[in-house]
């Protein structure tokens, strides 16, 4: 059964506007939160088990409790709305349709963290969304939920929206802060972490849009009730943006107890694969997480059904599993070519590398060149090993995790689809169209990690 916390009112006409949002229970969580102490809110969020929805899944309450509180120094909440991970478009959905949910969550989070000026950093291409957010901010301000002395609590808050200008790397939290300071989006060395030295060297919490939105139902139903939804350490609900070869692409809110099979094939979610095609592979958590072939997607290596939650998706590690990531669920049908798909991703990471670290700057370029060579029918068998070697040399050797994010998709493609790379090298006629070998209807045996 689906349990909706974030999108439960998304279908209501006019929910984008304050009055309608308020009529449907909006801003009640703020009223409740402002009667609590900031520490009590942090405790509620800890109890809820909420994990960051930006990709890493770090426990939000714990992150908030790490925020340094030196006397006389301002603290900041910055919402990460950079959403640039291929396959991910859930934050956009929240901001377009439920802007007040984000604003409400930001008021609560800012109060809990002691931020009197909070920013939303949104990717520049979402150029029409700042208008929606700014209208919501104006409405909330007129109604007394923003500005000075909110609801007589003595708490002041201003929220500003800042647009980026096209750079995936600005989703990485320290690059985001650099960009917000008016600089190139070069990630910073950590430590110091943003919780100690963030925006303008002040203590800062950076959270994803969905994470902040989830704070609203947590305050509403209590952290303990929120923790009862889902399973294990995958509490609450998760937004999944589903795309690729499925009948019903879109944004779905799931309770993390459903199986991957149900998510792909049931009419409530993706509605199966179009044209009676078979499922070949999937990248379930945004382009940076490992691709898995159909057989390992639906069942773990030990034969258990795989579920749509953090633990089950990563079961088996990178040898046979993958990750929940940002929830960008990319489905490939039997006609798709893994080599070509991986090549587009390699191009993406090369394009988006900020260039600070040699392994990332050079390695992503080499990976793209070699993949392009194989894809265009010029590949040699030794290229596959060279690719493997390059990705290994990037992983773990860079300032920020973009290097890993570039390496993992290539590693996983070779790990699970090495025969397809070989086939591509032996069968240059594949280049007429992006058709790979269609044998994943009959799953291949699991290849051990090299």
């Amino acid at each position: 059964m689906s349990k909706k916390l974030l999108l439960k009112n998304a279908h209501i006409e006019g929910i984008r506007y304050f009055d309608t949002y308020r009529e449907h229970g909006g801003y009640q969580s703020v009223e409740k939160a402002l009667k609590m102490t900031p520490d009590q809110i942090v405790e509620e969020v800890k109890t809820s088990g909420l994990r960051g929805r930006g990709g890493a899944g770090f426990p939000t309450g714990m992150k908030w409790s790490f925020l340094a509180k030196p006397e006389g120094v301002p603290r900041y909440l910055v919402v990460n709305a950079d959403e640039s991970e291929p396959g991910t478009f859930k934050d956009r959905y929240l901001m377009e349709f439920l802007p007040h949910l984000l604003i409400e969550g930001m008021i609560i989070a800012s109060y809990a963290l002691g931020s009197n000026t909070s920013y939303i950093y949104i990717r520049g291409e979402y150029a029409w969304i700042p208008d929606i957010l700014e209208q919501a901010i104006d409405e909330a301000k007129k109604a007394g939920f923003l500005g000075k002395n909110i609801l007589g609590s003595g708490f002041d808050l201003e929220i500003y929206v800042q647009r980026g200008a096209g750079a995936y790397i600005c989703g990485e939290e320290t690059a985001l802060l650099e960009s917000l300071e008016g600089k190139r989006g070069n990630p910073r060395l950590k430590p110091p972490f943003p919780a100690v030295k963030g925006l303008w060297q002040c203590p800062t919490v950076v959270n994803n849009v969905e994470t902040i939105a989830a704070v609203v139902p947590i305050i509403d139903i209590t952290g303990a009730e929120y923790a009862k939804i889902g399973v294990g350490r995958s509490t609450g609900t998760k937004l999944i943006s589903a795309c690729g070869n499925i009948n019903k692409p879109g944004v779905y809110e799931i309770d993390m107890t459903i199986t991957v099979e149900e998510f792909i094939y049931s009419d409530e979610y993706c509605g199966g694969i179009p044209n009676g095609k078979k499922l070949k592979a999937c990248i379930p958590g945004g382009s940076s997480v490992p691709i898995v072939p159909a057989n390992l997607l639906l069942k773990t290596a030990s034969g258990e059904p795989r579920y749509m939650n953090y633990e089950s998706l990563s079961d088996g590690g990178f040898a046979t599993g993958t990750m929940m990531g940002s929830g960008g669920f990319i489905v490939l049908d039997e006609d798709q070519c893994v080599v070509k798909h991986t090549m587009t991703l390699a191009h993406f990471y090369n394009h988006e590398s900020c260039g600070q670290c040699t392994p990332c700057r050079e390695g992503t370029g080499w990976m793209y060149k070699i993949l392009k060579k194989i894809e265009s029918g010029q590949g040699e068998m030794k290229d596959i090993d060279l690719l493997w070697d390059i990705q290994r040399k990037i992983e773990g050797n860079t300032i920020c995790p973009l290097g890993d994010a570039a390496a993992w998709p290539v590693a996983a493609a070779i790990r699970h689809f090495r025969d397809e790379f070989e086939w591509h090298i032996n069968n240059p006629e594949c280049l007429t169209r992006n058709y790979g070998i269609a044998h994943y209807a009959d799953p291949l045996p699991v290849v051990e990690k090299q």
């Binding site: 800042q162 960009s179 795309c243 692409p249 988006e352």
Partner: protein, 169 residues
């Protein structure tokens, strides 16, 4: 254009409001928003004199502007056509046929990726994932997205552009 580069008074007012979002002395934070305004007001790209002007408005050095302007893909360092067709070509869009859309546009307009038509109307700029993967194939045109593209839809869009009927802002 180098003699008289200056924002319109209402834009300058906007710049002031943007600077007021940040603490005292942190006006450099306004750089990206102000570059967006500059690109819009001064012909769709950022020529050196424009960047120098932005530097003077924000009281920072020109190099601080150049290094930022060249880092972000949305800032054009070369003149572009009136309509910049930014078609996403990353994996998820590719799975749903973005190649066909790009090829169709190339064929129809007789230009390659990155080029501008002779009449200065269209530039084709392949883009990386724009956060619309579920509504692929797609393109950005000005401020807005055009999603679930087909060849027919592309025809329609190009026609609307030619008639000056498409919303860019």
């Amino acid at each position: 254009m180098s003699e008289t580069i200056a924002f319109k008074p209402e834009t300058l007012e906007k710049v002031k409001q943007i600077i007021a979002r940040y603490p005292e002395g942190k006006q450099k934070s306004a750089l990206i928003p102000v570059l967006h305004l500059a690109q819009k007001e001064f012909g769709g790209w950022l020529d050196v004199p424009v960047m120098d002007y932005v530097a003077s408005v924000l009281e920072i050095t020109p190099i601080e502007v150049y290094e930022v302007a060249t880092f972000y893909t949305m800032f054009n360092m070369q003149p572009v056509g009136k309509y910049v067709l930014e078609v996403c070509v990353t994996g998820p869009c590719m799975l749903r046929g973005s190649d066909d859309i790009v090829n169709y546009i190339k064929e129809k307009l007789g230009i390659q990726a990155g080029e501008t038509t002779a009449d200065g109307l269209f530039t084709l700029k392949p883009a990386e994932c724009l956060g619309a993967c579920g509504y692929a194939p797609m393109m950005q045109l000005g401020k807005f997205y055009h999603e679930n593209l087909t060849k027919e839809k592309v025809d329609e869009i190009l026609e609307l552009c030619r008639q000056g009927q498409i919303a860019l802002d």
